[in-house]
Structure formats: C-alpha cells, structure tokens
C-alpha cells in the first residue's frame, strides 16, 4: 500500500503503468510467432469460413491484447481518480497520482499501437 493507507497498492499502480506496453509487446511477439509458425506449418489450410487459421489466431490475439491494454488503462484511470483528492496531502499520493496519469497515457499508446499494428491482418486475410 502507499503511505497513509489511501487504498492504492503498488501492484495496481505497476499494472496500470506497464500493462498497456506489455500487452503491445505480447501482441507483437505473438503475431510474429503466429505468422512465422502458421505460415510455415500450413495453418492457412485450416479455414474457418472465409478466414484461414493464421488470421483467426491473429484476431484472437488482437482481441486478447486489446482487452489487456484496456484493462490496464482502466486500472490506471481508477488509481488516478482515487489519488486525485489526496495528492496534496503527501508525497506518496502525489507520486502515485502522477504515476497513474503516466499509466493512462502509456496504456492508451499501447492500445493505439496494437490497433495500428493489426491493420495488416485485414489486408492479408488470405495471404501469408
């Protein structure tokens, strides 16, 4: 817990701070691995309606990581709100408040990059 028992744990702060960026990293590493592995091992042959196996896996990964980044953003936003009222009271709350603000910004950035990075999936629905 932060000093003064203001109810914001450091674990929550850390999750809110870095969750979005970690989600992006997972998305990139996962997408690269699925593309390399799936294309190499013939995943495109596993069709699911108009979508091949690689695309389905990529879409699933995208949804999961978008959820992770958004969740981290919500945690950061909630931390920021909780600390907004007490941030004048001490250095711990002030530091926590700014860290939570930074978390909101980083999570938004992570979310945005995941979405931009996912555009190719829709362009290459059938190709590897």
């Amino acid at each position: 817990m932060l000093h003064g028992g203001d109810g914001v744990s450091r674990l929550r702060l850390a999750a809110g701070l870095l969750g979005g960026m970690v989600a992006w990293l997972l998305h990139l590493a996962g997408a690269w691995y699925i593309a390399e592995w799936g294309c190499q091992r013939g995943f495109p042959a596993l069709a699911l309606g108009p979508l091949n196996g690689v695309v389905v896996a990529l879409l699933g990964l995208t949804v999961a990581t978008v959820g992770l980044a958004a969740g981290a953003g919500m945690i950061a936003r909630r931390c920021r709100r909780e600390l907004a009222t007490v941030r004048e009271e001490g250095i711990a709350a002030a530091a926590g408040y700014d860290t939570a603000r930074l978390g909101v910004m980083l999570d938004a950035a992570g979310l945005m990059i995941i979405l931009v990075q996912s555009i190719p999936i829709f362009f290459y629905l059938r190709a590897c």
Binding site: W24, L28, W32, C39, A92, D98, Q117, I119, C128
Partner: protein, 833 residues
C-alpha cells in the same frame, strides 16, 4: 528530535572517502566520478580512432575505381569502424556520462554497486584493447559490425572474427553490469523527496536505457557466445548444412541491434532535455508527455528488429507488423521534439555552444527521422536496401541524433567535470565545422543511394555517375574531422586555460549545479532534500522530521566506512543506510579472470579458460562474501547511527541487484529457448538427423531437486529472522545437498546423452541451455555454501546482512527452480509434442 551525535571532525570523514595513493590505488578506485571519467575518456579515444577509419574509407571512395585501399582492407575498415562506433564509443560514452552524473544529479554519494561499475569499465577497456590488438597481429575482423552468418562462419572468416566475438563479449559484460548499476542507482539512491515524478529527465532516460541494455545486450551476448561455440566447437546453430539457420543469427543480432540505436539515442534526448530548460530559463514543457515518449520508445524499440530484415525473405504478413511498429515509434520521438520546441518557443535563449549543438540536433534528427519513416515502408526499403541511402539515414540519426547532443552535453557539463569553462569562440568554430561538414558529407549519400550506389563495397564504376557526389562527401568528412579536432583541442586547452566556472555557470535547475565544480569525491556531505523538479531553482524546501533526521545523521558521517542514503523507489523517502565499498582490486581481478576465460578460447588453450573460470568464481565469491570482520564493523557502525534507519531494507539495493541479475539470466535463457524453438519451426524433423528423443523420468527426478532446494532455502530465510527460534543450519544444509545432488545427477545425465553437441543444430540447441543451467545451479549451490559458512560464525548469526544474503539466496533458488521446470517442459516434454 535532537541529534545524538555531533558531526565528526572533518578529517575523519574525508579520510573515509580517500582512495589509496599510487598506481595500485589508481587501479583500485571504485568511486563513480573517476570511473565515469575513465569511461568518457576511453570511449572518446575510441571515437577518434573510429573517425580515422571513416576518413580512410571516404578517401578510398572519393573517386570511382580508386585503388588506395584494396577490397580486403576496406572490409576490415568498415567492420572496425562500425564496431568501434557502436560498441566502443556510443554506448560506453553514455554509460560513462550516467556513471559520473547520476549520483550528482539525484543526490547520492556514489552508485549502488561501485565495484560493479569499476568491473564494467575494466571489461570494456580489455574488450577495446582486444578489438584493436587485431591490427597488430594482422587478424582484423572483416564480416561487418553485424557479422552475418554464414559470412562470419569458419568457412569465410578467419581468426579475426574470434577476436571480434570475444572482445565483444567482454564489452557486452561491461555494458550489462553498467545497465544494472544505473537502474538500481536511479531506483534506490535518489535524494529524499525526489519522487519518481520529480526525477530529472536525464535520469528517466537512463532508467529506461539501463533496462534496455539489460535485455538487448544479453541477447547479443548469448548470440555471440553461440556463434563462438559454432566456430570453436562445431555446434551448428547458424549453419544450414548442420540444420541451423543463418536467419536465426539475424533475428538475434537485430533484436539487439535495433534497441541499440535507442540505447544511444534516449540518453542523448535526456541530455537535450537538461540543456533546453536551462537555456530557455523555464521548465520543460510537457514533462509527463516526454516521460511517456521515453518509456514508449524503450518498449517499441524492441519491436522493430525485423525492419532490418525486410529483404531477408520473411512472410509478408510478419513484415507488416514491424512496419506498423516502425511507423508508430516516430510519434514518440515527435512528442519529444515538440516538447523541446515548445520550451524554447517565445524565449530568447543565449546561443551558447551547448544550445547550438541541441539546435543542430533538432534539425538533423528530424531529417534522419523522416528518412527513417521512409525506410519503415516495406516497398521503399526494398528499393534502397543496402544502398548509400541507408548509410545516409542512419548517420543522420546516429550522428545527428546522438553525437550532436553528446557533444552538447560535454560542452554543458565540462565546467562541472573540470571546474573550468570551454572557450566559447573555439566551441562555436568547432560546432560550425562539424555541422557543415556533416551535412556536406552525408546529404549527398541520399542521392548516391537513390542512384543505386551499394554500401559495403570498396569501389564503384565511373558509369554510375556518382563521382561528384562522392568527392563532395569526402570533402565534407574532412571538414567534419577538422571540427572534431578543434573540439578536442578546446577540451585539452581549456583544462588549464579555461576561465573558472563556479558552481553553476549556466544557471541550470538540476541538483548537480548546487555542488562545487568539480565536486568532492563523495559529492554530498549531507544528502540534499528535493521539493520539486528543479531543486537548484526552487531552493530550500520543507521536509518531514524523519527525513531531516536521516539526512542529518549522515552529515559527514558515518566514519570508518562509506555510506549513503537508500530511499523508497516511488517516493524517494529515506529507507536505509547503504554501505559502500572502499578502494579494492576485486573488480580488476575479476575482469582479468574473465579476460583469461575469453583469451583461452581465442588461442584454443582451454586450460587457460578453465583457470580463468576458477579465478572468476573465486573473485566473485571474495567480492560477494566480504570478510566477517568487515561485516562486523559495518554492523557495529550501523547501530551508532542516530536516524533509526536499518542497515538493510527488505527491498534494498541487494534485492534490486539480484532482480537485475535474474532478469539478465532470464533473458539469456529466454534467448536459448527461443533459438531452440526457432530451429524447430524450420526443421522438417525434430529431433534432427534421427537423434533419439530426450529422456523423461530421470531428468524429471534431477530437475525436481532444485524446487526442493528452493523450499529449503525459504525455510532458512525464515529462520534467519531475528525473532525466529529454530536454527537455519538444517535447511541450509538441505539446500546444499539438493544443489550438490542436482549437479552430480544432471552432470551424469549430460555425460550419458547418446549424442554430442556438434551432431547437428538440434543437439547444439539442446546442449546449450542444459549445460548453462548446470552452471546456474552451481552458482546457487555456492551461494548456499557461503551463507552456511557465515551462519556458523556466532557473531554473525541472524545479523540483518546475513538474513538479507539468505533472502537473496532464496530468490536465486526460486528463479533457478522455476527455470529448471521451464527447461524440462521445453526440452524434454516438449520434444514429444
């Protein structure tokens, strides 16, 4: 609350911080200021050497079909030029800047692990000497600074490449140690009141850079070790004929290589973020946005490596993810550029030399960034791949985006380093020559590249019609070199002839400007208190009583041993008193032992390697387990402190250092496991070549011993606590037995494996992590042995330091056990899936 002790006589305090006299004393220095200066001076000398190599290359390319340098020598020169600038100049220079400046800037007396930074320096120096020794033994490496396989394999590259790999190994070890050192120092040694949101931006950029170094350099370290294993012992990780993949090398190299660009660039932006507010006389606009941009850049830089491989034939789909990420990183860099411009907007800053370099940087970096966006687009990259367009792009980014801020940083902090000002007139002349020379040298390369002039080729035909551009470019390179010469002469001359600078010649807002120039070796007699982001502008601040009490207790104290305040990661409030080591030859001894390890491999006298390994183990053990008398002295001194702060915090520097070490190890093993799976993806059959599948039951029994040891170590850590009633000796002995048992059991299993590491890529990829794990288990076992030995001394039983050592031992054991389970699942169970 009144202080219980009056400050000791000044001579005692000064004596505590004095270093040994003479040459041996010089070798034994561990303080951040001399070590930082050594990093700066040595890396700058390498920069000058790398510059000379560049001039030789430009002379060769001045006209078409020139015969001054032959193709072989040209290959050697561009390999050494690139390697020097990337490994021996840029990164060590920013590390040196951080090692010197951070304690002054965040209010600490030294770095968190002074011996580690000295060790890092010696590794860097020995690596650099080994690099350049190749000129004297005529074994100059010639496979480029990227050493692509199979060009760097034994078939095409001689012993020079072994020099390159092993020298690089030493430099990487130095880099990783500096990275951990920097991160822990920033997290734990900030002055009271310097919460995360008040940290100077240079510290923010170094925090992110330090973490990047740990991940990126570890990847390269493992990759270079694998390549050396292939070259020396025939383990074909990268040789397609043995089932390996040359693309694996490219993936590993660029997973390091792209973040490397930002490892150089981010500290440079930190320098800019310190210079701009000083000359604009106002705080940096959008502090939090700049921090966000720095963190985003740090993360995203790890997602761009494939954009160096657009022409390597990877699946189109995966190229596009990396293209997207490459475009996105421009936004983060752009946010910083806008913040600097906004800070300067509407002001009339004095155009002193440091600011001139910053303005030059803004122009050049934006130009380099724009071409970066161009080459991030796959079709355009395919057109200009391996042409001089790319050479122009990365020199605009690296010289414009890194060298210019660093030269500005030298000009800005030179008064702090030396106590004297640089000559402003000579500084302006140097800037003018470097700026004009740079643009004349590198702008034409864009055009040459678009005309199709290939890079890394020693000559070009007259029919390419690029003679004029090349001649101009060479002229620009000489003009730039003249500027660097003026800069160096100015540095040397001003050391004696420069005007006295005073403590704050620029009116800077950060903490270092409140210290005399040059500062005392301990920097702060009393740790400062910080109330905002610009302590030098904001003056005295109110502080809680506990913080004042802690600072007063350290006012020129304690005597007999060096100490500084360790503070909370988030808030910067005092947490404990941290012991710091005095002068010692331990770092030099350990670095020499490591040099012997690598040298033995180089000359293929493996007895030397074994002797070096034993020496290294002995040096590290002596380092980690100080003499009990020293521990007792610290313990006794600690109880005399008035502030009521403990000597060891639960999450103190040791804990963070261990986390750093385990992160490095985790990354290293991660690279090995990644390589295993990468090779598997591209293999028609796995295991390759009809080799048998690995066993399941006996290895499971062996690996199970490590979790048992971890549980025992946890029990020992609990029994080390002051209020515990049971002796920790039994669980420690149990952990020791588990470790010893594993070493024997796993060793026998490895010995009995029915194939050799060089059989094919599968065998190599299987042996590498399995054997490395054996070494890790050995380290955990030796740690336990050390704790057990100290525990048996009654005077030390249940002291906070020993309790801490046991807790850290548990961390090590827990990590080792978890890693063992992972390896077992990946290498044994996974092989059947």
């Amino acid at each position: 609350m009144p202080r219980r002790h009056s400050p000791p006589p000044p001579s005692d305090f000064d004596h505590t911080w004095e270093n040994r006299p003479g040459f041996v004393g010089w070798l034994a220095v561990v303080n951040n200021q001399p070590v930082g200066k050594r990093f700066l001076v040595t890396s700058f000398v390498f920069f000058l050497l790398g510059g000379v190599l560049a001039l030789l290359m430009r002379t060769q390319l001045a006209v078409s079909e020139n015969g001054i340098l032959g193709p072989q020598l040209y290959n050697e020169l561009f390999t050494m030029h690139g390697s020097t600038m990337m490994f021996l100049f840029a990164v060590p220079f920013v590390e040196g800047l951080a090692v010197y400046l951070l304690p002054l800037q965040i209010g600490a007396r030294d770095l968190a692990f002074p011996r580690l930074s000295a060790f890092g320096y010696w590794c860097f120096l020995f690596g650099g000497i080994l690099f350049y020794a190749t000129f004297f033994v005529n074994l100059i490496p010639d496979a480029g600074w990227f050493a692509y396989t199979p060009l760097s394999g034994t078939r095409y590259s001689g012993r020079g490449l072994d020099f390159w790999l092993l020298a690089l190994g030493l430099v990487e070890v130095g880099g990783i140690t500096a990275g951990i050192e920097i991160v822990v120092t920033i997290l734990k040694f900030r002055a009271p009141g310097m919460a995360l949101h008040r940290m100077p931006l240079f510290a923010w950029t170094m925090l992110v850079t330090g973490l990047m170094i740990v991940f990126a350099f570890t990847t390269l370290l493992v990759a270079t070790l694998l390549l050396e294993l292939e070259r020396a012992f025939g383990m074909p990780f990268f040789d397609p004929q043995g089932g390996g993949s040359s693309l694996l090398w490219q993936h590993l190299f660029w997973f390091f290589g792209h973040p490397e660009v930002y490892i150089m660039f981010l500290p440079a932006t930190g320098v800019v973020s310190m210079i701009v507010p000083t000359f604009a006389r106002r705080p940096l606009a959008g502090y939090l946005w700049v921090v966000m941009a720095v963190v985003v850049t740090g993360f995203v830089s790890f997602g761009l490596w494939v954009h160096h491989m657009f022409a390597a034939g990877l699946p189109k789909l995966s190229l596009l993810f990396f293209s997207g990420a490459s475009l996105m990183i421009a936004l983060a860099s752009g946010a910083q550029v806008f913040a600097w411009i906004a800070t300067l907007w509407g002001r009339r800053p004095a155009l002193k030399t440091p600011l001139l370099y910053v303005l030059g940087f803004l122009f050049l970096f934006v130009a380099g960034g724009v071409t970066g966006v161009m080459v991030a687009v796959v079709p355009f990259d395919l057109q200009v791949h391996d042409t001089f367009f790319v050479v122009a792009h990365f020199h605009y980014v690296i010289i414009g985006g890194v060298l210019f801020p660093l030269l500005g940083g030298i000009s800005y902090w030179y008064p702090k380093f030396t106590g004297r000002l640089l000559s402003e007139g000579a500084g302006r002349i140097a800037f003018g020559l470097i700026f004009i020379g740079f643009n004349v040298a590198f702008f034409p390369m864009h055009i040459m590249g678009l005309y199709g002039m290939p890079r890394r080729v020693y000559s070009y035909p007259a029919s390419l019609n690029v003679d004029g551009y090349n001649l101009v470019s060479t002229g620009g390179a000489y003009l730039m070199a003249l500027g660097v010469l003026v800069f160096v002469v100015n540095l040397l001359r001003s050391m004696r002839a420069g005007e006295p600078a005073g403590s704050d010649p620029w009116g800077g807002g950060s903490l270092e400007w409140t210290l005399p120039s040059p500062p005392a070796i301990f920097a702060w007699e009393r740790p400062p208190r910080v109330g905002g982001r610009h302590p030098a502008w904001e003056g005295n601040v109110e502080e809680p009583g506990a913080s004042r009490q802690a600072r007063e207790a350290l006012d020129r104290a304690p005597v007999g041993w060096r100490a500084t305040l360790a503070t909370d990661v988030l808030t910067g409030e005092p947490e404990s008193v941290q012991w710091l080591p005095s002068s010692t030859l331990q770092p030099l001894t350990a670095a020499l032992a490591l040099l012997l390890v690598f040298f033995g491999v180089l000359v293929k006298i493996y007895l030397l390697t074994v002797a070096g390994l034993i020496g290294l183990f002995a040096a590290v053990i002596a380092w980690l387990l100080p003499h009990p008398a020293t521990l007792a002295k610290i313990q006794a001194g600690g109880t005399a402190l008035a502030a009521g702060l403990p000597l060891v915090a639960r999450r103190g520097t040791g804990w963070w250092g261990m986390i750093g070490a385990l992160t490095t190890l985790g990354m290293g093993f991660g690279v090995l496991v990644f390589s295993y799976f990468y090779l598997r993806i591209y293999s028609a059959a796995w295991p390759q070549g009809g080799l048998p599948l690995p066993g399941l039951l006996l290895p499971a029994a062996a690996y199970l011993l490590m979790p048992i040891g971890a549980v025992a170590m946890r029990a020992a850590a609990r029994r080390m606590q002051p209020n515990a009633s049971q002796s920790p000796l039994a669980p420690l002995a149990m952990a020791l037995a588990a470790g010893g048992g594993f070493l024997i059991f796993h060793g026998i299993l490895l010995w009995q494996t029915p194939f050799l590491p060089g059989a094919n890529a599968y065998a190599a990829a299987w042996y590498a992590p399995s054997t490395a794990y054996l070494l890790l288990a050995l380290v955990a076992t030796i740690w336990t042995l050390g704790v057990l030995r100290l525990t048996r001394r009654a005077a030390l039983a249940r002291t906070p330091m020993l309790e801490n050592a046991t807790r850290l031992g548990f961390l090590l054991w827990g990590f080792t056990a978890a890693l063992g389970v992972t390896l077992y699942l990946a290498l044994h169970v996974g092989a059947y899936v």
